[in-house]
């Protein structure tokens, strides 16, 4: 993705912002207005999501998953201006990714997973899990850095309480309690983020 979207080309791009700080809707709005840094952040933020749908939910082999990734973001670049509401970006991207993955699977002569074999997870379930993971990731970004670090080390990196304590300069005996406090904050932040999302939606969709 190396050029600006057509919809944005006519207007002067706004000054760059610290894109990682933006929520998804604000990031999408920056992309539509032609902010290249925002595009970079958008691809970075959603790359694992798209790859996870391709490789996890549709079980595409790595080269096909890579093709799907390229195609999804190329089409996103071209068609983002058609998105009616910035808050609906993630479901829009998921739908686009599903379509591309289905087409690639068919092109490669694979079953399109309209009816997945019983030993494979349903793509809808797998995508549902990814949605939850993304919500958690978004809430993690809004936590204070020390809380985010403790939760990431314990739940994502499988670090022991002792290792976390050593590396963060905290007593090992306090890590379990610290994780508990941070999880409570994460739950509060996630609830707040969910409320904000609901408030942003038009009344008919609530």
């Amino acid at each position: 993705v190396s050029r600006l979207p057509r919809a944005a080309a006519a207007t002067a791009p706004p000054p760059p912002v610290a894109a990682p700080e933006l929520d998804d809707a604000a990031l999408v709005a920056r992309c539509r207005s032609g902010d290249e840094a925002a595009w970079t952040e958008l691809v970075r933020r959603f790359s694992r999501y798209v790859l996870a749908i391709a490789a996890g939910a549709y079980r595409l082999p790595p080269p096909d998953a890579e093709d799907a990734f390229q195609e999804v973001f190329a089409l996103t670049y071209v068609h983002l201006h058609e998105l009616r509401r910035d808050t609906a970006f993630r479901p829009w991207l998921a739908q686009l990714t599903r379509r591309i993955c289905g087409q690639i699977a068919q092109r490669r002569g694979q079953q399109a997973l309209v009816e997945p074999p019983s030993d494979r997870p349903d793509p809808d379930d797998a995508i549902g899990e990814l949605e939850v993971a993304l919500d958690v990731q978004r809430a993690l970004r809004r936590l204070p850095a020390d809380c985010g670090a403790v939760l990431d080390r314990f739940f994502c990196q499988d670090q022991s309480y002792a290792t976390i304590g050593d590396e963060l300069g905290l007593p090992a005996g306090t890590i379990a309690s610290r994780i508990s406090r941070c999880l409570r904050r994460l739950r509060d932040v996630a609830a707040e983020t969910g409320r904000e999302d609901r408030d942003r939606r038009p009344p008919l969709e609530r």
């Binding site: 499988d158 022991s160 002792a162 090992a172 379990a176 508990s180 999880l183």
Partner: protein
């Protein structure tokens, strides 16, 4: 004694009989003392996956006990961090499960490389294989220390009828840590001064001190 405590004691007594005198349980047990559903391993295969895997699986069960006590605390509603303790217990159980699989894999590879080295082929592959076979038990011992820590926290805050389960988890975790740490030095074969072995001994010393604190 609570009703749950009595049930636990009766279950233990029955299990004890099944181990020491299976025939007393009735005609279902065979002459070797095995109960129905417990099959003899096929000829030529190992009866057990090995003590490292058993230690990790013990941790899966121990973390499950902590989760059970944590859920009871959630229902009781007087400990705000109960849900978070359940989440940690669940994560530790999953971690222990992954370590059980990793240990079985590392052990199989070490056995293969030992066999090849004895026959004089690929001797350079032996040391990394032995090091992996020692590193996984160290991770199991570290996870055991975490289960002990969390179990002691949950035992102190959960309702009395399930606090006994969290305390049992602490005991199981301590045993699993000792088993896993002893495997570090054995699997290394390289000597007790190896940094991994030293680290394992230090970990067990800390853990035993912590277990004494929890028990006392």
């Amino acid at each position: 004694l609570t009703r749950r405590g009595i049930v636990a004691i009766v279950s233990t007594a029955v299990m004890g009989r099944s181990i020491t005198d299976a025939r007393a349980l009735g005609p279902g047990a065979d002459a070797g003392g095995r109960r129905p559903g417990v099959e003899a391993p096929p000829e030529g295969t190992l009866a057990s996956p090995g003590s490292g895997v058993v230690a990790a699986r013990t941790l899966v069960e121990a973390a499950g006990l902590v989760e059970l006590a944590g859920r009871a605390a959630v229902e009781a509603g007087d400990w705000p961090d109960a849900r978070a303790a359940v989440a940690q217990a669940s994560a530790l159980a999953a971690r222990a499960g992954r370590l059980a699989a990793a240990n079985a894999e590392a052990l199989a590879r070490a056995r293969l490389e030992l066999d090849r080295a004895r026959r004089g082929t690929h001797p350079q592959d032996l040391e990394p294989a032995l090091r992996d076979a020692a590193a996984v038990p160290l991770r199991i011992a570290e996870t055991a220390a975490d289960v002990l820590e969390l179990a002691s926290l949950v035992a102190a805050r959960s309702p009395a009828d399930v606090a006994v389960d969290a305390a049992a988890a602490a005991t199981l975790a301590t045993a699993a840590a000792r088993v896993a740490a002893s495997l570090v030095a054995v699997n290394l074969v390289l000597g007790e001064d190896d940094p991994l072995a030293v680290q394992a001994r230090a970990l067990v010393a800390r853990l035993m001190a912590r277990a004494r604190e929890v028990a006392g």
